[in-house]
Amino acid sequence: MRFINQTKASSSPMSNNERKRFPRPKRDWTPVWERRFLVGPKMTPDAEKAKRPEDQMSIFAKRKKTFTLVILAVAGLYLISALVTSFSFFEGIESFPKAFIWITTYLVPNADSLTKLPKILDKLIETAFVAVAVTVCAAICSFFFSLLGTNTTKAHPAIARAVRVIAAFFRNVPDVVWAMLLLFSFGQNVLTGFFALFFATFGLLTRTFIETIDEVSSECVEALRATGASTLQVVFQGIIPSVMSVIISWILYMIETNIRASTLIGILTATGIGYQFDMYYKQMNYASASLVVITIVVLVIAIEITSTRIRKVIM
């Protein structure tokens, strides 16, 4: 208040004596937009000291400090983990040559195992079809489900939140649990593996599609809305064309993942190629088991190459 009074006073005519007793306050020449920054919490002496450039930590010192902290944290985590699981690094290293020798001597297909090739291929094809069917069904379901969860379609916020929670639930329940649960009701059936994979894929894809739709199509949806398009028109003219390539790309990736996952579920639920491997493995018929591994590898790599090609064209 006093400051303001003084400036006002200075504008009024004053005698020289008065001028001396009340000197005109020095004008602050800092521009207004910079003065704003001076208003703030008072600087403590320590903070002022730290602001001086010679005391400021150099970027390299800072990097070094964070680096040391990260290394310590990782080392600590490693030691605790090794202790908990009684894992020894040297045993791990030792196991490599042993495993290599074992693999090259036993895990090689022989003439006897080749007679089982048709049976193995039959199971492999079944597993591949399950993986494709699961992924396509899950993708279609989760696409329409994720429409409810995005900001672009303007569903009720409560619905959007519910969709996200449901997706998180399906994603976080391990597929092992689904497999075991469905084994009770569906038994040793294709459908056991189908639904177990379906739930896991559904959860993952719903989350991914929500993010993709929000990221990719918000601009064109806005443009369509401005022209007065209805929600259905927005979905079919705006969202689907713009996210289709991403969706196809995800489907191809999930097919590959699901073939591998269905091997695991096959072992648990005694279906498909996983069961075939497990059976040979438990009979110690390693030659036939190796043939199963090789066919899986060939299939997965073939799918990977195809999907990489397709992705290159569409993305």
Partner: protein
């Protein structure tokens, strides 16, 4: 990526940008060379066929466009995404749907009564999630098993990240020798193609069942995955940085640790945490399928030996809570690194 996707959004953006050539007519008529015109069109990301129009000096571009507009189907300018992406997307989608339908027809359902099974499943789900309790496991024991699973995942991620990082340096296209890169990529593709469970089972015969087999088996697949992920993130960094350091005489490791790592650290951490989450899930799976211990084994015992749905429910809840906590922590750390 967003630039490319904007081409596929075609209709609305294209309609919005279409009139611009007409406004710039005077500019075109004065400087017009066909090269200048075609580059302008390309920058607008349009495949208006006008780009290929003959630009003779006596006819103005506006007239050409008008003529073209009259010629084209239904009086509209033909606008679409460039290249083959449209038909390939359609063909891929159709093939996938056809395979799905064929799959459903050929599956061996073994005459299962579908609706009874679904009803039974729903009942089981209700029992599992509404009446969770522990009988065969103690709560501290379950927590210990969870810790073991967590530790297995952490160890596999640790080794996988180390191997993955050096593997990525060997096969990133902007750093590595192309021949070495291709060899590494082929090996990694093979390693990734074998399911994790099979690695664990193979190693448990070769090295004896225990944490070593589990960790090594999990590590194989994580290393394969991370080599691919890391090398893709390294390939994304600005080549100018590497070039500048090379020009100033920096050595290989100096380039790696002063340019490559700082530039891609955000991606690298994000991928590592994603893999950690996957490894945690995989550790549960191999605990169940390969008897590698941890909470996965308890889960398997509860369902396959004791047939106890409530126990299964309790273990599932524990796993869900653990995974959610893991995700929250990972998100926080990722935000800090960025």
């Amino acid at each position: 990526m967003s630039k490319e996707q904007s081409t596929k959004v075609s209709t609305p953006t294209a309609v919005a940008t279409a009139p611009t050539p007409e406004i710039d007519t005077s500019y075109f008529t004065t400087i017009a060379t066909s090269a200048a015109a075609s580059t302008t069109f390309r920058s607008a990301e349009l495949v208006v066929e006008a780009a290929a129009l003959p630009l003779s000096s006596d006819s103005s571009l506006a007239e050409d466009l008008q003529k073209h507009r009259e010629k084209s189907l239904r009086g509209r300018i033909k606008i679409g995404a460039k290249g083959m992406s449209g038909p390939v997307i359609k063909i891929t989608a159709l093939v996938l749907i056809a395979l799905t339908v064929y799959g459903f027809i050929t599956f061996d359902y073994k005459n299962i009564d579908f609706f009874t099974a679904v009803a039974k499943t729903l009942h089981n789900v209700r029992v599992m999630f509404t009446q969770p309790h522990l009988v065969y496991n103690s709560f501290p024991g379950l927590m210990w098993a969870l810790l073991v699973t967590f530790a297995l995942g952490a160890l596999a991620t640790f080794f996988g990240a180390i191997v993955g990082f050096f593997g990525a340096l060997l096969c990133a296209k902007n750093l590595a020798n192309p021949i070495v890169g291709n060899i590494v990529r082929a090996i990694v593709a093979f390693i990734r193609a074998v399911p994790t469970v099979l690695w664990v089972l193979i190693f448990s015969v070769a090295a004896g069942l225990g944490s070593v087999a589990a960790v090594v088996g999990l590590t194989f697949h994580s290393a394969g995955y991370l080599v691919k992920a890391y090398s893709e993130s390294i390939e994304e960094i600005d080549y100018g940085t590497i070039e500048a350091l090379k020009a100033s005489g920096a050595k290989y490791w100096q380039i790696i640790f002063q340019a490559v790592v700082p530039a891609s650290i955000g991606y690298l951490t994000a991928w590592t945490f994603l893999r950690f989450e996957i490894n945690f899930a995989n550790a549960i799976a191999i605990g169940a399928a390969a008897g590698a211990g941890g909470i996965g084994y308890d889960l398997f015992m509860a369902s396959a030996f004791y047939f106890d749905l409530s126990e299964l429910g309790f273990i599932t809840y524990t796993v869900i809570i653990a995974v959610v906590i893991l995700e929250i922590v990972a998100t926080r750390i990722k935000a800090k690194v960025r």
